[in-house]
């Protein structure tokens, strides 16, 4: 089998195997923290950080970790990095850390991260694993950014805290609430399905 060019591993995460829109992984933080674009971006970056670091470590140790305890080891590795990220955010951006709340620790059980370790990092070389993790992380962040932008613009009339809607615009508060998150994500997934089908035919 001919090996794909390494850059392919990065690009696939952006759209073809986008963790949120196509693989439907890591939906809990996607929905929960995307009230504002800032939060969405922070969550994306944090998750990417954890993903890249743990992929690095897992890929490095892939021949060392015994098969029976691999899942447990992955979880410990991930949990460690999550703790680091959590403390970092709490120290430097306490505002964001507060608004993300327990969803930072919940990155541990984000099935996207564990899924990448199990499906990719534990089977591939370091470079490829890093590219894959970066791609997935970027795809995740991108999806979060779009979702949180839509919700923030409609729900609060702002984008990254800047007023961008016209003065008489009355905000759709529902977009900041759970129903708005579900409906927006539903539409995004549907749009992705639609575009993908268009591309195939």
């Amino acid at each position: 089998m001919k090996e794909k060019p390494a850059i392919q591993e990065f690009i696939k995460g952006l759209w073809d195997e986008n963790p949120v829109l196509v693989q439907l992984l890591g939906l809990c933080p996607t929905l929960a923290v995307t009230v504002s674009a800032e939060n969405g971006l922070a969550m994306g970056v944090a998750a990417t950080f954890v993903l890249v670091c743990s992929s690095f470590l897992v890929s490095l140790l892939r021949n060392v970790i015994p098969n029976q305890v691999r899942i447990a080891s992955y979880i410990v590795i991930i949990a460690t990095f999550v703790t680091i990220a959590d403390r970092f955010l709490a120290a430097y951006t306490p505002e964001i850390s507060k608004s993300l709340g327990p969803f930072i620790p919940l990155i541990i059980v984000n099935c996207m991260i564990l899924g990448r370790q199990e499906a990719f990092a534990s089977k591939n070389k370091l470079g490829r694993s890093l590219l894959d993790a970066l791609g997935m992380g970027a795809g995740f962040t991108l999806a979060l950014l779009v979702l949180s932008s839509v919700r923030e613009v409609l729900g609060s009339g702002t984008w990254f805290g800047m007023d961008i809607m016209w003065a008489s615009f009355s905000t759709w508060k529902v977009m900041s609430l759970p129903p708005g998150a579900f409906l927006t994500l539903g539409c995004m997934i549907a749009a992705a399905n639609w575009i993908n089908r268009r591309r195939q035919t």
């Binding site: 009355s170 905000t171 759709w172 508060k173 529902v174 977009m175 609430l177 129903p179 708005g180 409906l183 539903g186 549907a190």
Partner: protein, 393 residues
């Protein structure tokens, strides 16, 4: 009697036959074919000879008829007929609200209906299904949505609600008959969550201030027209409202919430025509009556009396026109009872202990979500099934 009927039929016939003379001719089978079958006692009538009809060969009989599976008789019901009847049944209430709230209510009603129809049409075009705005369901959704809004609700928001109702309430599920939740209430719930202040800015009827038995009006300045609903007054300010204005609609509130009498008139028409299942209003309103009545008997100073509970807010509108929406209500009789009772309990709980003064919308939406389960769990025992079980015992 029989003869007369035949006469009428025959006098009607020529017009029909002439109109479709050519069609008829094509249906005729070549005359030679019939000659071959010597058995035929009757000669073919003098009719224009048919041109070419490849299908004619298949039919050796004298004329082509429709071949279709049984039954060959049909009841008179049809989907558009049901929809338009419900719309007509709503008209007394619409008229009452226009009478009480003036042209502003009419604008809201028209905007909602028009936006719903436009949204339906756009969805039809995008999804490339046949255009379905003529089946009346979009009009009904728009109308019902408008009935749940305050008369002075912003026009743009009304339109948004109608679009949400059609798109997320109905079309994403696959159009008419596929939706799980009542589309109008989805639209309304969306608006309620989006604009919690605007949607609770009520207007008093135009001449409410002159009416002596309406307590609140006297406490407001003459030029202020906004006021609270009877439920809101009771809940947040502890002020009751007399039953008479509730009955006639001389109160603040949504467009469709006002006149209980006009709503009842339309609702009863629906029940008589069997376009609404009588079990739903009965079990819904009945549960509210019994539940709140029991509480009222326990402590009349703390809990409102049951008639107030029934006549205030959107209960009548919801019970007769929204909960009975065929698509989103159970199909089994037992399921229907549970559905109604569930809504009643939830309504009283929300009204008395919840954070909101009104819970009709939420009670219906919540029970809508349970309808698939109710349908599943209350499948009727089919004829003869019970005996089989008792035999086993």
């Amino acid at each position: 009697m029989t003869e007369k009927k035949n006469d009428i039929k025959e006098t009607q016939d020529p017009a029909k036959t002439e109109a479709s003379a050519e069609k008829q001719a094509k249906k005729e089978v070549p005359a030679e074919k019939q000659e071959k079958k010597g058995a035929s006692a009757e000669k073919p009538k003098a009719k224009p000879k048919p041109k070419k009809n490849p299908r004619a060969k298949l039919f050796k009989s004298e004329r082509m008829t429709i071949v279709a599976p049984a039954p060959h008789a049909k009841g008179k019901q049809s989907v558009p007929r049901i929809m338009y009847t419900v719309i007509i049944a709503l008209l007394p209430a619409v008229a009452a609200s226009i009478f009480f709230f003036g042209t502003r209510a009419m604008v809201t009603l028209m905007v909602a209906v028009f936006s719903a129809m436009v949204a339906e049409f756009a969805c039809n075009k995008i999804m490339k299904t046949g255009v379905t705005i003529d089946d009346g369901s979009a009009i009904l959704t728009g109308l019902l949505l408008a009935m749940t809004l305050p008369p002075t609700f912003p026009v743009a928001a009304t339109a948004l609600g109608a679009v949400i109702a059609i798109v997320f309430g109905k079309q994403v599920f696959g159009g008419l008959g596929a939706n799980i939740f009542n589309p109008a209430l989805i639209g309304r719930a969306f608006l309620q969550a989006s604009f919690p202040v605007k949607i609770t800015t009520w207007t008093l009827p135009a001449f409410a201030s002159s009416s002596a038995y309406f307590d609140i009006a006297t406490s407001k300045a003459v030029d202020t027209v906004s006021g609270a609903t009877p439920l809101g007054l009771w809940k947040f300010e502890g002020i009751g409202t007399h039953l008479k204005p509730l009955l006639f609609g001389n109160i603040g509130g949504c467009i469709g919430e006002t006149s209980a009498l006009a709503l009842l008139a339309g609702g009863i028409v629906l029940l008589i025509l069997k376009y609404a299942d009588w079990r739903i209003p009965l079990s819904y309103i009945g549960t509210v009556f019994l539940f709140s009545g029991a509480l009222w008997l326990i402590d009349p100073s703390r809990y409102p009396d049951p008639l107030f509970m029934i006549l205030s807010g959107g209960l009548i509108l919801g019970a007769f026109f929204m909960a009975t929406d065929m698509v989103t209500s159970p199909v089994t009789p037992l399921g229907t009872w549970i559905y109604g009772i569930g809504m009643g309990v939830m309504l009283v709980v929300i009204r008395l202990w919840g954070g909101l003064p009104e819970g009709v919308m939420y009670s219906i939406l919540f029970m809508n979500g349970l309808v698939p389960l109710l349908n599943r769990w209350t499948r009727p025992k089919y004829f003869g099934e019970i005996q089989e079980e008792s035999k086993k015992k």
